[in-house]
């Protein structure tokens, strides 16, 4: 077992599936679908294996694999995971198979291309979470962009070209800055050590940073570049406007992955790279970033209230919820950071579920406008019950996962400065306002004329649709009652805070 290159396997199993599908004839749609699902399930099983074999108490990275890639610049193919990345990998593989299963019905054209894109997307996402070489990380990061560009641009809604172009250009601006920062970091390391060996190696760079060897001015510039890339991805206020457009136009599964995993890439980048490598800069900019996070939390919620479109509403709510993640990172307390990571996972499960549920209605009505809905509780009782459950989870009902994450961020922030918690606690009311008002208009009241007109098309959720949602709901309850299942993996929090704190003076 120890010799099994499990990380490499998890990362490239989906790629193998994509290659396999590429040689299948296009008209074998069902075979293609099943191959894609089987592949993603295989990756999922492997990731579960990773989850159970990961040793909790141990510090540092585990399951490391390394091979020289471009030796003249010290670039390696280096993988490894700590508790944080294990959790993110499992989140990715879980949401991937669910998304692929949820695409069986809605995606009817170019199934082959769609499934290939999806599996390549999975490769990129997993790669980002397991890469321990900055150059490799960058490659995976950009790899995510291409299939998502296609998924929105080909299988998306009416306004898809505008949305996908905006998404890609916006993200590309950030990632180009990130490339500059990565190169500059490597150059600095090379200049200090006189050799390229380890110049892109995350562990070496982190040790270098922990010794306080990156100059302050350099840190400020490199951090800003990296931060911008990640902040766009999260997305933080005011870089968020690509998100509502992308979500609205993306097909259901695209939205699920976008909200469930892609936004987490940004948060992961901040925790893994931006703060530990440039701790001085992180502390210098913490104040403004906290303020931006608070704005995102409240502003995202306020704007959500008046959204006329179901997906757009959930998109803006993501801005608000992800604000907790960035807030939790930059107050630099263990409690808040654990809360932030819990919130990353929980938001992936909850918002992923919400987008799936909107997809279920969209399949039947081909509409997402709240004004046209009404009375769905009478016509689709099962759907309404499940939708209500995910809405309550999103509101932060205790006993469900969302509560634990948000509350830990609140407590950690309160300990740092009470004013932070006081100024953002209003979101407790705002979140309930926009979600319950939406739920009331969609599910309660008399059945709307628009829905009545659909007649028999308005069937309740199917078994497959329920199957995509059941695991998410189960995990939301499980993590709400036993958050220790996640918290046990979060010993990297200590490493992070040590890294963030150690070099502040240096």
């Amino acid at each position: 077992m120890p010799t099994l290159p499990i990380l490499g396997l998890i990362t490239f199993v989906p790629l193998a599936g994509a290659v396999l599908i590429a040689v299948l004839p296009s008209k074998e749609q069902n075979l293609i679908r099943r191959t894609a699902l089987g592949t993603s399930l295989a990756a999922w099983v492997l990731s579960l294996l990773l989850l159970v074999t990961y040793s909790l108490g141990q510090a540092g990275f585990q399951f490391k694999e390394a091979a020289d890639w471009i030796p003249s610049f010290g670039i390696q193919f280096k993988l490894g995971v700590d508790g944080l990345s294990v959790l993110m990998v499992v989140l990715t593989t879980t949401l991937s198979w669910i998304s692929i299963l949820a695409s069986f019905g809605p995606i009817k054209v170019r199934v082959k291309e769609y499934m290939i894109s999806f599996l390549v997307l999975e490769v990129g996402m997993i790669g980002v979470f397991v890469a321990l070489d900055l150059f490799l990380f960058y490659i995976f990061w950009e790899l995510v962009l291409v299939p998502m560009y296609l998924i929105i641009g080909i299988w998306g809604g009416a306004n898809r070209i505008y949305a996908t172009t905006k998404f890609v250009l916006y993200t590309l601006v950030g990632s180009l800055l990130m490339l500059v920062a990565i190169l500059a970091t490597a150059f600095t390391y090379q200049a200090a050590n006189g050799s390229w060996a380890g110049a892109f190696d995350y562990e070496k760079l982190q040790a270098f940073a922990a010794a306080g060897s990156f100059g302050h001015n350099f840190q400020l510039l490199a951090f800003l570049a990296l931060f911008l890339a990640f902040a766009i991805k999260v997305p933080m206020f005011p870089f968020h406007t690509w998100l509502p457009d992308a979500h609205t136009e993306a097909p259901t599964a695209g939205s699920v992955i976008l909200a469930g995993v892609l936004l987490k890439l940004g948060a992961y980048g901040l925790i893994r790279f931006a703060v530990p490598l440039y701790p001085f800069a992180a502390h210098t900019f913490a104040g403004p970033i906290i303020v931006l996070s608070l704005i995102a939390i409240v502003y995202g919620a306020v704007v959500s209230i008046v959204q006329p479109d179901l997906k757009r509403l959930i998109a803006y709510s993501s801005v608000s919820h992800m604000g907790f993640v960035t807030l939790g990172i930059f107050v630099f307390t263990a409690t808040a950071l654990q809360g932030a990571i819990l919130q990353m996972l929980s938001h992936g499960l909850i918002t992923g579920g919400l987008f799936l549920l909107v997809g279920v209605v969209y399949e039947r009505t081909h509409d997402r406008s709240i004004a046209k809905m009404g009375g769905l509780a009478a016509t689709m009782p099962l759907w309404s019950t499940v939708f209500g459950f995910f809405i309550l989870a999103s509101i932060g009902l205790p006993g469900l996962s969302g509560f634990v994450g948000e509350f830990l961020v609140f407590v950690g922030s309160f300990a740092f400065a009470p004013v932070i918690a006081v100024s953002s606690i209003i979101v407790m009311v705002l979140a309930a306002t926009y979600l319950l008002w939406m739920f009331q208009r969609v599910a309660f009241g008399a059945v709307s004329d628009f829905l009545t007109g659909l007649g028999d098309h308005l069937t309740d959720m199917s078994r497959v649709e329920l199957l995509t949602l059941a695991p998410l709901a189960a995990l939301i309850v499980l993590f709400g009652l036993f958050p220790s299942l996640i918290l046990d993996f979060l010993s990297p929090v200590q490493t992070f805070l040590a890294a963030a704190g150690a070099a502040v003076g240096g």
Binding site: F218, T241, A377, L397, I425, V429, L487
Partner: protein, 654 residues
Amino acid sequence: MNALLPLIPLLPLGGFLLTALLGRRYPDDAHRIAVWAVVASWLVASLVALMTLVHIAPFGPQGSGITLWSWIPAIGFRADMGLFADPLTACLLIVVTTIGMLVHVYSIGYMAHDPGRWRFFAYLNLFMFSMLLLVLADNFLLVFAGWELVGLCSYLLIGFWYPRRSAAVAAKKAFLVNRVGDMGFALGIMAIWTQLGTLNMQSVFAKFGAVPHEWQIAIAVLLLCGAVGKSAQFPLHVWLPDAMEGPTPVSALIHAATMVNAGVYLVARCNPIFGTASEVMVVVAAIGIFTAIMAASIAFTQTDIKRVLAYSTLSQLGYMFAALGVGAWTAAIFHLMSHGFFKGLLFLDSGSVIHSVGGEQDMRKMGGLARKIPTTYATMLIGSIAIAGVPPLAGFFSKDEILGGAFKNGFLWVWAIGFVVAGMTAFYMFRLMGMTFWGPSHVDPEVEHHIHESPRSMTGPLIVLAVPAVLLGLAVGFPPETGLLHQWLAPVFEHTIAAGGHAEAAYTFFGIDGALAIATTALVAIAIVLAWRLFGVEIPVLGLRSQPRPDQVRALSARRAMALLYRGSSNKWWFDDINNKVFVEWGGKLAAAAFWFDRTVIDGTVNGIGTVTAGAGMALRRVQTGRVQNYALGIALGLIVMAAGYLVISVTVR
């Protein structure tokens, strides 16, 4: 034996899960599971309460608990799944499970013809679980969890008839207004953790003296916010009257007898916290007594039978807050219990009335029902006498202790207002009785000959609830201030009372206490006589009979001095209109403005940059002239810029 504690909430939780899973398949029978689950929970709860009150180990005056698992064991934070029962818990357990069980039984009949009956019972079971969790929790975060869950159940049950828009709106309103208070509660929990490093209530109380005084005040104020929301005190009282959109058993259980008491329970439970922050205690008393008189004044003019009872509930909860604020802790819990029983009774009675007249809730379309639904009438009369404070029924003793406590602890203004409210209570309750049961019938002739007494599953609980409404005071509250309840609760409150300094003077019947009691009783008697002169009375056994005088009522309310009061009362003092204007209208405009800002300014900038870039690309296309000289010039300029840039960077970055 401590393992009994988790059984109490888990039985109804199991009932909820089974009913919810099986309900769709067995819609006619699933509710039985829920009923039996609550009966079982009541048995266990009664056993635990009894053991606690008569001191059978491990339960007893100091309380006993059990930790199930470590709920949130984070680095730098900790909260457990732990339950705890002491005499205060025992009192609440008795009220919650007894009334809960009776309401379940009652609902079998009340909801018999509703196709969603199983769903109703599933929600009721979920509520029982949540409420019992709230009462039994041993730490603040778990109380908060129960707190939010009862709020959810309240939301689900108010909106039970969801096709009705008003029900859906009222449900949402209840949840949102409660959340306003919960913000304070949540911040209070954060403050407690930050100051003390624990959320376990007993540990917090033990260490609370060491907290800096400004934080003591802050924590008390923040917890009070939560209590004010849940117990519907001014200014967060607006959700409770609208909550009457829910089925009547819900109003009885959640919005009269149990959930709305949670705020009173929280403040009483945190008596060591509030005791050290005496500045806040005055606020508690002021909020309570203001709510009491404000709500009572609204109850005067409401015509919907349930709304009168809802405002009455607000008013009585105000009494309890006033009692807490003046330091009459036991009196507050006493009133909580007696009010739970008689108000639960009154609401179930009103449900029986509504049931008998085909769903009508407007008292102007009732009248003369006394002989047609005798059991309902008799039990409702008992409930009304009890709430009015006629000796020796339950309400007399508990209200008397509150007023006496206010007077003797030096809160004369609280006593004076409370005294007036006692008279008002008697008046509006007998106005309700008169309009509903006495005088000529105004029932729709179509409905008139269908009027029938409710089935036994409904009248049974009424009769059972009438017993404590009559006897509770004599049983646990007599002799006043030294009765059983005082002995039971002494271990919970004695510390705070001793620390507070005002050891209350002993009860003297031939002294101040007797004088106060007689004064109150006299006022109540006058109010009752006044009400039945105006609204008519007909008590055959006693040979009492009077005709209603709608002309006098109209003349009275039309008087110049009364007109404004009358308008204010019937418009609920315009609180809903103000809230609607400020939060719904202005808040909506603010949100719309934020969205405009997002699209025009933020996204406009992004798109602007995009357009400028695209435009620049079009413009720069002209640079591709194809002439070598131009390119050479470009290369030269580029080199210079790069060299300069390198110089600048190597100077600024080391």
